[in-house]
Symmetry: C2
Subunit: 295 residues, 2 copies
Amino acid sequence: MVADVQALTDNFKTPEKVSENVRGVVLDYLSVGLDPRLVTIFIQSQIPEIAELTIFYLNIVNVGKLEQNPTVKTELKQKNFGKEIPVGFLVYPVSQAADITSFEAELVPVGEDQLPMIELTRDIVKKFNTLYGKNTLTLPEAVLSNNQRLIGIDGKEKMSKSLNNAIYLSDTKDEVNKKVSKMYTDPNRIKTTDPGKVEGNPLFIYLDAFARDQQEVKDLKKRYRLGKVGDVEVKSFLAQNLNDFLNPIRMRRQEFAGDTKKINKIIRDGSDHARQIASSTLLKVKKAMKINYTF
Amino acid sequence: MVADVQALTDNFKTPEKVSENVRGVVLDYLSVGLDPRLVTIFIQSQIPEIAELTIFYLNIVNVGKLEQNPTVKTELKQKNFGKEIPVGFLVYPVSQAADITSFEAELVPVGEDQLPMIELTRDIVKKFNTLYGKNTLTLPEAVLSNNQRLIGIDGKEKMSKSLNNAIYLSDTKDEVNKKVSKMYTDPNRIKTTDPGKVEGNPLFIYLDAFARDQQEVKDLKKRYRLGKVGDVEVKSFLAQNLNDFLNPIRMRRQEFAGDTKKINKIIRDGSDHARQIASSTLLKVKKAMKINYTF
């Protein structure tokens, strides 16, 4: 799903940012290898059933539960809304529950910062099924990646577009080199010969995740701790590994990037298919709530 | 509009109450003389565009603004949610804004307790038009009735179904007589010969609103104040007047009540027509927000 409606909760003052990015996100999905013959790629705003389910779910969630959700709390701090919290932001976890349940998702791949969101969805599903009939909604489970979510290149919080501290799938080799060269490392290490800290150091966190040759990483860590390797060498090794990782992604992007017609068809077909499934879920929900009138 | 989705915010634990009442509300509308050839009668849940607009509007309303809305505050007190306020209840004024703006309403007939709601809708319209383009949404105005909203027959708050202190359009003559005979009057008047209080007395509030012969009401008030008329006589005069008022309504109800097919067709045609208008508003909104993609 390309979550354009949800993106508007952050960007309601600059909606053009959202619409400009929609095809870009689809291109990301295709570039990393999601195969539209196996995977349904669709745009959230094309599925009105999600909005309808959200409205129904809002009745069975309490305000306090949202305000106390750890993910909501953390993001509230990051976003500097001050006292002016948009209602759309507060209720977006409920619309996420609609995203997930619309498609009867059983597994939801997330970063561990999103676990409280999946917990909320599970609460909604359980409450809904208790109130309106068991097995109406599918109870999803979170799936975590083997790698932890990545820290930003500024060493702060998670990597994210809105915090502007991310390396993008669409970055060129030069952009990656430049970003890595500016990466936050061990702030207490002034000279190359100072012993450096590996733990919590973004360079090594990224190397753990992306380096093919983990023996080399082990060696670098050892030398870094002893003050026997410069940041420049570690960064160059990391940049090389990131670029190796990104190269096949860049090639697939190249394939699709020029073909707007093909991308449009993927979005159209995906959204049609998604809508069929969401309609059938909505019908089930309306039946369970006894508001599936026939006139 | 029959606001079934909104009714679920109060009745989410007993949705059958909502579905059972839908045709009854339409029957009320027809009974009081709304003519389906002139008026569009439709069911809220048949118009998914309202849910979509609600989701968009949630982004431009702050949580504090809802919590401080006088109507929301009053109703929160009435409904005894305690600490467990359903999000659906908190955000229902925003969904009302969607109800109103979906159909480009210019005038909205309301009781004065609902004025803060219309004010909120006006704020949403102004903010939306400022952010996304003037004249996208129509700015509505509230229209108050010449009569104030009626106090309940228990003398408390407003007359309302959920407070169970109302006389219904569908009440029979006997039911009206019974309800009026139990009505709350002047609690300090023990004997018929005690001078009674007219101001704030539900009996006289209703007589001001419904009695055809206001000269007779004037005379009754005078005698009531002097302790020269019993509650029974005033109540019987009121019941008579209420039944006179309700009789043509009852007759029209009779006409339609047996004809489910006709009512269904009115609902179907009305909802189809309403949906056309709401679709066109949603399209305008999406265009203004630049998320009216074509794929």
